[in-house]
Amino acid sequence: MSDDNRLVIEVKDLDISFRMPTGDIHAIRGVDFELRENEVLALVGESGCGKSITAKTIMGILPENAVINSGKVIYHGKDVEIDLLGKKSSWRRKNINGSKIAMVFQDPMTSLNPTMTIGAQLITSIRSHKHSDRREAYSRSLELMREVGITDPERTMRQYPHQLSGGMRQRIVIAIALSCDPEIIICDEPTTALDVTIQNRIIELLENIRRARGISVIFITHNLGVVAKIADYVGVMYAGKIVEYGTVFDIFYDPRHPYTWGLLSAVPELSDDKGELYSIPGTPPNLAKEIVGDAFAPRNPYALAVDFKAEPPLFHVSGSHFAATWLLDVRAPEVKMPDALRERINRMKQEGREYVNESE
């Protein structure tokens, strides 16, 4: 994890609206991030914050009523640099999607074809991108299935999606995503529909694949426990913007944005007494209306007067960590994170130190 890794995707100043009969919805309001080789970037936030739309923009699969107002998605290949938004979708399907950037969706039942055997789907996917005969594609399919942890691949080749469990289906989807050796995998809530035990295995699988292949991952989720396990960098999204960005340690040990404080506080603690579960008050803003100031201000107990008037810029906390909140302005009064959260983070740090000492 370092800035020396080669840049693979750069999203710059992305701004997207959806045309609706009732008026425009301003879904993405300026998103910037970088993804480097062999890194996992997690995008987290509540539903409707724009995390899936960001992923769809990179893949070029936005719905027809989406309008890209501005922005660039630059793909950095080994020796090329391409602004994907300037290319036609047919060109992207042929040259980028699948072979350079692949995607894994939330529900494996809807991303697999129910009328085709697993084998046929894998072989089709391999042959549509690489010139190989059926025999070659067949043995490649078996290899891929072993890579994603399927124990009896010959049998699974002949089965249909409905004959497999949810976890197995998601493994197949990952195998298909890997079939053309992509450099980047975008995972949109890949474990949300799965049970906790299965969820863990899929995350481990993705982690192993990343290590073995050295690929980059954009991981979209609303589960902060999962983020802590898998991410190198985290982007916290709110109302179509990244409001805090940093390494996984920055975000979990030193969060600065009140929204991140809220998200972290809302994760139930297993050792907790049965008090009240914390929840962020209110609901996300209606993006069909123009947003003045900080979009989070109405739900923010720490909001300053300026939050309702002017949008906060990104303030640098350190070289890798920044947050868009006026609380970081030099003129702002000193505001600390809630006591309960600070105590919890201290406990997390303590646990972490103990774990590191024990394993040494």
């Binding site: 035990t197 426990g225 297993l270 579960l277 929840s279």
Partner: protein, 314 residues
């Protein structure tokens, strides 16, 4: 009716005794529930946890009568429900049970306004003498679940997912049920909205003394709401205990693996590999197990040898 008391010292409201539910599908028998026994006391919340396919929902459906149990007994308020032939009689006897479903969009009629949806429940159960009286109850319910009364004339599509679930809960509460079966009622919601709904259910429970059967795969939420928890796997109930017992002293390896699998919110600590569980590798045959008591409230389903081995290890 003698007031039977369960082992959590509460008068028994619902008891499920040796329930089996098999589905015959084209010559193949799917055993969804195998010899399930538990009870729920008055004012008590019983949490059922397990992965998908473990038979959690089947049990809820058997109780409300959507599935007809293959064998076993279900008793509610002292009346035996299993064996009732007529739908009318079943409905009569289960009047005190309400259900909240996972997906509020598919369980609310999209063509009816929120207030009307709740009033319908009152009409079916003949509650409230006049329209005015019913409207009053509807307003009370909306208030109780935190929906502004002015929204009474809106349609389900006009509400957010969390608000829709609140309407579903208001509808269930309107008829003052003794028992609410909540089947994955927060699974489709965002984490922060989940917390809001769970907090609300917690208040309702304290305020009205309603019993809950809370079915979920999310252990942290189940722990928060439940007085006692039952752990299901592959149709078998493996361990039952108070929330404390299940979370601090789980005995069955499957329960332990479930707890270890909850992702910890700490980037330094990986998940606990030692607690991995694979039934075929573990050599445990659930069918051979019988109930073994650990404490008066905590019991586990296993063979004598397994019980000895597991308790020794502790």
């Amino acid at each position: 009716m003698s007031t039977k008391v369960n082992n959590n010292e509460k008068p028994v409201l619902l008891s499920v005794d040796d329930l089996c539910m098999y589905f015959d599908t084209g010559g193949k028998r799917v055993k969804a529930s195998e010899h399930i026994s538990f009870d729920i006391g008055e004012g008590e919340t019983f949490g059922l946890v397990g992965e998908s396919g473990s038979g959690k929902s089947t049990i809820g459906k058997c109780i409300i009568g959507l599935n007809k149990a293959t064998s076993g007994r279900i008793t509610f308020e002292g009346n035996e429900l299993t064996g009732i032939r007529s739908r009318k009689e079943y409905n009569e006897k289960t009047r005190g049970i309400q259900m909240i479903f996972q997906d509020p969009m598919s369980s609310l009629n999209p063509k009816k306004q929120a207030g009307e949806l709740i009033r319908q429940a009152l009409l079916i159960q003949h509650i409230g003498k006049s329209r005015e009286e019913q409207d009053q109850i509807v307003d009370q319910m909306l208030e109780k679940v935190g929906i502004p009364v002015e929204y009474r004339n809106r349609y389900p599509k006009d509400f957010s997912g969390g608000q829709r679930q609140r309407i579903g809960i208001a509808r269930a509460l309107a008829v003052k049920p003794k028992l609410i079966i909540a089947d994955e009622c927060i699974a489709a919601l965002d984490a922060s909205v989940q917390a809001q709904i769970v907090n609300m259910l917690h208040h309702i429970k304290e305020e009205t003394g309603t019993s809950f059967l809370f079915i979920s795969h999310d252990l942290s939420m189940v722990r928060f709401l439940s007085d006692r928890i039952g752990v299901l796997h592959l149709g078998y109930l493996l361990e039952v205990g108070t929330s404390e017992e299940i979370f601090s002293e789980p005995l069955h390896p499957y329960t332990q693996s479930l707890l270890a699998a909850i992702p910890r919110m700490n980037p330094v600590i990986p998940s606990d590999e030692s607690r991995r569980y694979d039934r075929s590798e573990s050599g445990i045959d659930y069918a051979l197990g019988t109930w073994h008591d650990i404490t008066s409230t905590h019991r586990v389903r296993c063979t004598d040898e397994e019980f000895e081995k597991w308790t020794e290890e502790e």
